[in-house]
């Protein structure tokens, strides 16, 4: 059981990394990015390409992939998402859904539906045998560490830099931010750039950890969403907490019965949500007397 919990915590690191971009885009722009998983996969496939042609390690492949992802995110926001946002709150759902389908199928066309995996180097298989029943894989620890570093970096960005202030102000009140001289569209574009870069990073690490194919995005997407929502929409560190809670719920569920892996996560997800909503409503009078259902 302790082993399961530990593994759950480490798994939480992966989910947090995957969910960071999602959390950022939803927190700043209220966009539910259905293509998030697909973009992460594109990161993995691009790393794969660089490795094939340049004969470098996966880690080194991050060097071209990450800046590329920043640019892709920036352009994506300025071209597609900005217009979609202006058109209506739900329109980005349609755009990102379109992207999800187009990306998934283009990946399938260019890379075949076969399963791939990215090599993770020596750390990939190393583990620390703590006791006879507890083993800690070093790679998962690395992922958790990367997640913490990324989240920490974002935290510093948001709290200490002008861009961070502009991001928070625009997320809170875009109209007034504009009146203070902030170029909201540029701020949004930078937010999306960062979001896509973190998802590409997550994609590469995911691809090192397990096998992937053009449609792996969907399964992981729901877990990423769950992590964001459990941790509280709009809270960056909440995403880490959410990821860990989810990871532990899943691994503990699997301990009880192998088939209960996803179910464990889902049940905890729903429980947390309902509890939180009931507590919030209990604190405020949402409905006046006599108007309730």
């Amino acid at each position: 059981m302790i082993n399961a919990i530990l593994h759950g915590i480490l798994l939480g690191g992966l989910y947090a990394l995957l969910a960071t971009g999602l959390s950022l885009m939803f927190g700043v722009m209220r966009i539910i990015n259905l293509a998030h998983g697909s973009l992460a996969l594109v990161g993995a496939y691009m790393a794969f390409l660089f490795m094939e042609h340049l004969h470098i390690s996966t880690y080194l492949a991050l060097v071209p992939v990450l800046p590329g992802a920043l640019i892709v995110g920036y352009v994506l926001q300025r071209t597609l998402l900005e217009r979609s946002l202006r058109a209506g709150e739900l329109v980005p759902l349609l755009t990102t859904f379109g992207l999800l389908i187009v990306i998934g199928n283009l990946l399938q066309y260019f890379f075949s539906p076969d399963v791939h995996s990215l090599p993770s180097g020596r750390i990939g298989t190393a583990s620390w045998r703590v006791t006879s029943s507890v083993t800690i894989p070093w790679f998962d620890v690395l992922i958790l560490a990367v997640a913490v570093v990324v989240l920490g970096g974002l935290h510093l960005l948001l709290r200490r830099t002008q861009l961070g202030r502009e991001l928070r102000a625009t997320a809170s009140d875009a109209d007034t931010a504009e009146l203070m001289g902030v170029n909201a569209r540029r701020v949004y574009a930078r937010a999306t750039a960062i979001a896509v870069a973190t998802s590409a990073l997550a994609g590469v690490f995911y691809a090192m950890r397990s096998a992937f194919d053009p449609f792996s995005g969907a399964t992981q997407l729901i877990y990423a969403f769950e992590a964001v929502v459990i941790g509280g929409i709009g809270s960056l560190w909440g995403t880490l907490v959410g990821g860990i809670v989810l990871g532990v719920a899943q691994t503990v569920g699997a301990q009880i019965n192998v088939q209960y892996f996803a179910l464990g996560g889902h049940v905890v997800f729903l429980a947390v949500l309902i509890l939180r909503a009931v507590l919030q409503a209990g604190g405020l009078r949402v409905l006046p007397r006599g108007a309730g259902a």
Partner: protein, 320 residues
């Protein structure tokens, strides 16, 4: 008045279709009908209720599995089973609504997706229903009906379900509940403060959408006869939500006619382009993106604005 008459004629024509059209056409129309049902139900939730749900496939799955359960395991007449299944779906949607309607926005959207996944997993744990590897109702239908009969009866069931749901939705929107829904959409707190029963309004929509999607699920089962194993094409799959989002947003969110147009568009794409393999999907996605960029209020929304159209007297428009 003339328009209502026209609708009646259309309905009669469609009802007589099995006597005039080929098997292939009937088969196609059934698909169109369940797409229409799904589209108008998702629009009822999102467009009129402000509830974006990425999990209506929960009810599609319930509908399909309930029919298998009732007609295969309990030897009920499959069409009667379809009706019963719809009621079961409606019944299940009540406690789900009681729990989920506490949530808002993104939490509700994703929460419903998770509910669908939970239903899928719970059913897959039941070996008698196939344990996640799929199941079928072939026996229940083919022991009683010839293929031609099955097609005909399924056609009528699908048409009846679509027509009934359209009428119910229309009446609902024209009732006091419809006005209160508009108020809720505009400003929930203000609406509540003047006595609008917010939870009741949303609850009614949720149950209707639950029943409707369940009905669609039963039709899908009657049409394809088998339920595929859990995976991307699963009856509980999020692909169904993706189709609903496509139909409603391309057709026109929050309009009455929009989702029907969106369903027709998706149906046409499916029927005539789907053999293009990968490129079918690329086209689907590209259309979604193009509509989002250039026709954000949907095809019908754009037509309404451009030509000042309104076919059905639902909702209010102020003309400049």
């Amino acid at each position: 008045m003339a328009f209502t008459l026209g609708l009646g004629v259309l309905l009669a024509l469609l009802a007589f279709a099995p006597l005039m059209l080929s098997q292939g056409s009937l088969d196609n129309l059934i698909q169109l009908y369940f797409l229409v049902i799904l589209a108008i139900m998702w629009n009822a939730l999102a467009g009129y209720g402000g509830l974006v749900s990425v999990g209506q496939q929960a009810f599609i799955g319930i509908g399909a599995y309930a029919v298998v359960f009732l007609s295969v395991q309990h030897s009920l007449n499959p069409y009667f089973a379809m009706l019963l299944a719809t009621l079961i779906g409606a019944a299940i949607s009540i406690p789900v609504a009681a729990v989920m309607l506490w949530l808002r926005g993104g939490a509700f959207a994703i929460g419903m997706w998770v509910v669908a996944e939970v239903f899928a997993i719970l059913i897959s744990l039941d070996a008698s229903l196939g344990g996640g590897t799929g199941t079928s109702a072939v026996l229940a239908f083919n022991l009683r009906y010839t293929p031609e009969q099955r097609l005909r009866y399924t056609y009528w069931a699908a048409l009846a379900a679509a027509a009934a749901l359209l009428v119910i939705l229309f009446l609902l929107l024209r009732s006091r509940l419809g006005a209160s829904l508009q108020a809720i959409r505009d400003d929930e707190a203000a609406a509540a403060s003047v006595g609008v029963r917010v939870l009741l309004g949303k609850g009614v929509l949720f149950v209707l959408a639950g029943a409707g999607c369940t009905a669609a699920g039963t039709v899908i089962l009657a049409w394809q006869l088998s339920i595929p194993p859990l995976g991307p094409d699963s009856i509980f799959g999020v692909n169904w939500s993706a189709k609903m989002i496509f139909m409603v947003l391309v057709g026109g969110l929050g309009t009455f006619e929009g989702p029907i147009i969106g369903a027709i568009i998706l149906y046409l794409l499916q029927t005539y382009v789907s053999n293009a393999g990968v490129w079918y999907f690329v086209m689907l996605g590209s259309i979604a993106i193009a509509v989002a960029l250039f026709l954000p209020s949907g095809v019908w929304g754009a037509a309404q604005d451009r030509f000042n159209l309104q076919l059905l007297p639902v909702g209010y428009r102020v003309r400049r």
